[in-house]
């Protein structure tokens, strides 16, 4: 296949561009704002949630435990940080469900707190 495209191909290209323009409103076929495809998104986010919640607890608990060991305030910081970790886990879950794997850059507010 040489450098000059076949006439049938230029025609195809033209028709493709027209079809994409009609479908998405941009010549390269990339819609300016695409809502994420729902089906696999939902599956994905559903499987994220449990781990998000649990990891908040784990990280919070570990942080509190470490701070307790360091500062010698035996049970207190661990209790506090465990609760904070639970809050962080909740925020993670809220975000995971609300953001659904992506937002327009710099776009909609997504703070769950």
């Amino acid at each position: 296949m040489a450098d000059d495209p076949l006439p049938s191909l230029t025609d195809l290209d033209r028709r493709l561009k027209a079809a994409r323009m009609a479908a998405t409103g941009s010549p390269d076929g990339i819609p300016p704002e695409v809502p994420p495809a729902p089906s696999s998104e939902n599956w994905g986010s559903a499987m994220r949630l449990g781990v998000e919640l649990a990891s908040g607890l784990v990280v919070g608990g570990l942080m509190g435990w470490g701070l307790d060991r360091w500062l010698g305030t035996k049970p207190w910081l661990m209790i506090v940080f465990f609760l904070l970790g639970a809050a962080a886990g909740m925020i993670n879950v809220l975000r995971a469900t609300r953001v659904q794997g992506g937002e327009p850059p710099g776009g909609a507010p997504k703070n769950g707190g």
């Binding site: 994905g44 994220r48 703070n111």
Partner: protein, 247 residues
């Protein structure tokens, strides 16, 4: 995939064995079966991409279609989440996606070793991603990166509490990223092995668990894709946070 002849435990498949024992300055750097399967993953991906791009046909063949599909899938994901600025980091994200996906899929071969079912592997990847993304965010935004920990419009008296929670939430990222992948792969493969053991143990009645194992194998293929997808999409989300920390 069924239980071995010696009646292995379902967890035997996760055992790491040294293939080429090596020791450098007291550190065990043996070439293990995990390392072997990582190498196989990398070689498989590289071979796929080389074969796919060798001809560059206008009408793609099968291999080229696979490569193009993967490419467009990841590009689309990256563009949707991070915008066009994110495309600069495409090689990084694409590598992660292909490595995880290939490791997951290779793990489904009988007698293979699932690299991603080990926390050490997934945690290393997650830590690399988080550290890289954090450094990138700091380099790109300087102090503005810390807006991530204090969403705008928060009353000042709430700030100390919220910052602590946000920091914890940020620190959960590597944990959830690595644990999710490793737990899913490990749970799936263990279940397969357990039901595979039932097939042998039940004799003629083993037909029922056999059917179940077949269905489960299909599910594991879904999980292999899905977990690679989730791992990648979370990488994209974290990358987006680094590029645009202002909520």
């Amino acid at each position: 995939m069924a239980a071995g002849a010696e009646g292995h435990s379902p967890l035997h498949q996760f055992e790491i064995t040294r293939l080429v024992p090596m020791d450098i300055a007291g550190v065990d750097v043996s070439f293990t079966n995990a390392a072997l399967w990582m190498v196989i993953s990398v070689v498989a991906v590289s071979a796929l991409m080389m074969i796919a791009t060798a001809r560059g046909a206008l009408v793609p063949g099968r291999v080229q279609s696979v490569a193009e599909l993967a490419y467009e899938f990841v590009t689309g994901m990256l563009r949707d989440i991070c915008g066009t600025q994110g495309l600069k980091y495409f090689p990084f994200v694409f590598t992660i996606f292909l490595f995880v996906l290939t490791a997951n899929l290779l793990g489904l071969l009988p007698y293979s070793f699932t690299v991603t079912s080990h926390l050490a592997v997934t945690a290393t990847m997650a830590l690399v991603i988080i550290v890289a993304v954090t450094l990138l965010g700091l380099a790109k935004n300087g102090f503005g990166f810390f807006h991530l920990f204090l969403p705008s419009g928060v009353p000042l008296w709430l700030a100390p509490l919220l910052i602590v929670i946000e920091v914890i939430s940020y620190l959960t990222r590597p944990v959830s990223l690595s644990v999710r992948l490793f737990a899913n792969m490990m749970a799936g493969h263990t279940t397969l092995k357990v039901f595979g053991g039932f097939v042998v143990a039940l004799g003629f009645l083993g037909i029922a668990p056999l059917v179940f194992v077949v269905a489960l194998t299909g599910l594991e293929f879904l999980v292999a894709f899905l977990q690679a997808y989730i791992f990648t999409i979370l990488t994209c989300i974290y990358l987006n946070d680094a590029l645009h920390p202002h909520h």
